[in-house]
């Protein structure tokens, strides 16, 4: 959070001049999608000044490593920084850190002024919302104890790292990607880790049942204590009354925990869009060209609810994707939009998650599948599930099987098929049986 007052912000030494210069594009959210939007605009020749504004006190950084390499200490924080300061200066992009926008006044032509909690004002000609999502909070007794943590941004990761050294027992709540990645990292760091999952299987709807089951068995065989259909009832404090010491389950079981890490999903940050009167429904509603309902503001990445971009999806079907790949591809669409071009979303959505020695890569979206083909090479530790709809491959979950992943991703991108009957033999390379469908 910024600490300027309105008076300071208007002064000569610390902030903009009394009448602040208007930026050509104000990007709110110094996120993966915000960075990509600025970079793509410059690549397209967008000549106006860009302000890339974030509410954290860090230069824009990559999030995926926070639950993995950064937590484990195998990469330095500097490695997570997207671009050098020189890059931004050379490309006429102002980075603004630590400013939290609380209100935006906007005109019909798309221009306006954004007001920060510090009192600073940011006039703009066009506006982009790349504000992402925030961690969903678990509202139970003891939820505000020290050591009850979330993992969404760099400060969250730093808080977790600061506590890890003193902890023996960690309870992770939520068996999704973040929970399982962090649990694997913490286990590798020597912690006694228990994962509680409210639902009947891991990773919710992001993967199919076979993949969820594979991960359950694989993690259990690696010594991770995973409890399905299990909820925490309350967190109890140590003798000091401040720090968490245990998690009490619904059935009365008590698990010691000096750290509780909660990863139960995210909520899109739609507050500014709502204040602007934009259509909001599970995110900011945008058209195929990343334009919000006012026709001028773009909304990009995790926060955007967009028409499903995957070829062959049902007309009118909408989707909100939380991924690096989507942040990048959607930002490119928005960059075209802001430079007056109408370009459709390119590429096939893909995802990855690294958990212990399990490298999961997902190509496409499996919703609406009516058939699966399992390819399992136990000896080589490779596992893939291909998803089909009416005989056409639509997605694949691949564990330690990059060749399968690449074959499916490339086939989907080219509108090709991988016939199910031939795909069932794990000795067959999928690339060799791909057909023009």
């Amino acid at each position: 959070m910024g600490t300027h007052t309105a008076e300071q912000a208007a002064g000569a030494t610390n902030g903009p001049a009394t009448v602040p210069t208007r930026t050509g594009l104000l990007i709110i959210g110094a996120s993966q999608s915000g960075v990509q939007l600025a970079v793509s605009l410059r690549a397209l020749g967008f000549g106006e000044h860009i302000t890339l504004l974030g509410d954290e006190d860090h230069r824009p950084y990559q999030r995926p490593a926070l639950s993995k390499e950064f937590l484990q200490g195998t990469v330095e924080s500097e490695s997570l920084i997207f671009r050098s300061n020189d890059y931004w200066a050379e490309h006429n992009v102002d980075l603004v850190k630590g400013e939290h926008i609380v209100r935006i006044d906007k005109e019909a032509d798309g221009s306006g002024v954004a007001h920060a909690s510090s009192g600073r004002e940011f006039p703009f000609r066009r506006l982009a919302l790349t504000v992402g999502a925030r961690a969903r909070k678990l509202e139970i007794d003891g939820g505000d104890l020290d050591g009850v943590l979330y993992l969404r941004n760099a400060d969250d990761a730093l808080a977790l790292k600061a506590r890890v050294g003193d902890a023996t027992d960690v309870v992770v709540i939520g068996g999704g990607f973040i929970g399982l990645e962090a649990a694997s990292s913490l286990q590798k760091m020597g912690k006694n880790v228990t994962v509680l999952e409210f639902g009947p299987r891991l990773v919710g709807r992001a993967v199919g049942e076979e993949t969820a089951e594979y991960f359950l068995q694989a993690h259990r065989s690696r010594g991770l204590d995973i409890r399905l259909n299990t909820s925490a009832a309350r967190f109890s404090a140590a003798d000091d009354g401040k720090a968490v010491a245990a998690v009490e389950l619904q059935d009365g079981t008590v698990l010691p925990a000096q750290i509780v890490l909660i990863g139960i999903g995210v909520i899109p940050n739609t507050q500014l869009a709502e204040q602007l009167g934009l259509d909001v429904d599970n995110g900011v509603v945008v058209d195929r060209f990343a334009l919000a309902s006012d026709g001028t503001t773009v909304a990009v990445g995790d926060v955007a609810n967009m028409p499903n971009p995957v070829p062959g999806s049902e007309p009118g079907e909408r989707i909100r994707l939380e991924s690096v790949n989507n942040a990048i591809e959607h930002a490119k669409v928005a960059a075209y939009s802001l430079t007056g071009r109408r370009e459709e979303y390119a590429g096939i959505p893909w995802f990855w998650s690294n958990q212990a020695d399990l490298k999961l890569q997902i190509a496409g979206l499996c919703n609406g599948y009516d058939q699966t083909v399992l390819r399992y090479d136990e000896e080589r530790g490779k596992f893939s599930v291909l998803y089909y709809r009416r005989g056409q491959v639509i997605a694949a979950d691949c564990v330690n099987a990059p060749l399968d992943f690449m074959a499916v991703k490339n086939a989907l991108a080219k509108g090709q098929n991988i016939p199910a009957d031939a795909a069932a033999d794990p000795a067959t390379q999928l690339k060799t049986i791909t057909t023009d469908s």
Partner: protein, 106 residues
């Protein structure tokens, strides 16, 4: 300082100085070398940091592990004998590396 000379598919050359221990991919991305995409940030998941290493530089580099080898079969431009994923190439003291970026990474 180690230096990486990036030549793009059209022949334009960009020389970038990097830090010992950083990867060739990181060095490229931080400085906005356009021929390197690196969607996954170096976790060996996307194969969009493909480079062709000049033949006389190949021996200065660490050998390829299986995962990199497999990922290279999925690059947008087909692999050659001198293909590497630049996220797997760490800069060492005094390294002078010449690489060419493919026409496209995605």
């Amino acid at each position: 300082m180690p230096t990486v000379h990036f030549t793009d598919a059209e022949g334009a050359v960009r020389d970038v100085q990097g830090n010992v221990g950083d990867s060739v991919m990181e060095t490229a991305v931080r400085n906005g070398v356009p021929g390197i995409v690196a969607e996954c940030g170096g976790s060996l998941s996307c194969a969009t940091c493909h480079v062709f290493v000049r033949e006389d530089c190949v021996s200065q580099l660490p050998p390829m592990e299986d995962m990199e080898d497999e990922m290279l079969y999925g690059t947008a431009v087909d692999r050659e004998d001198n293909s590497r994923l630049s996220c797997q190439l760490r800069l060492t003291d005094g390294l002078e590396l010449f690489v060419t970026t493919p026409e496209t990474q995605v």
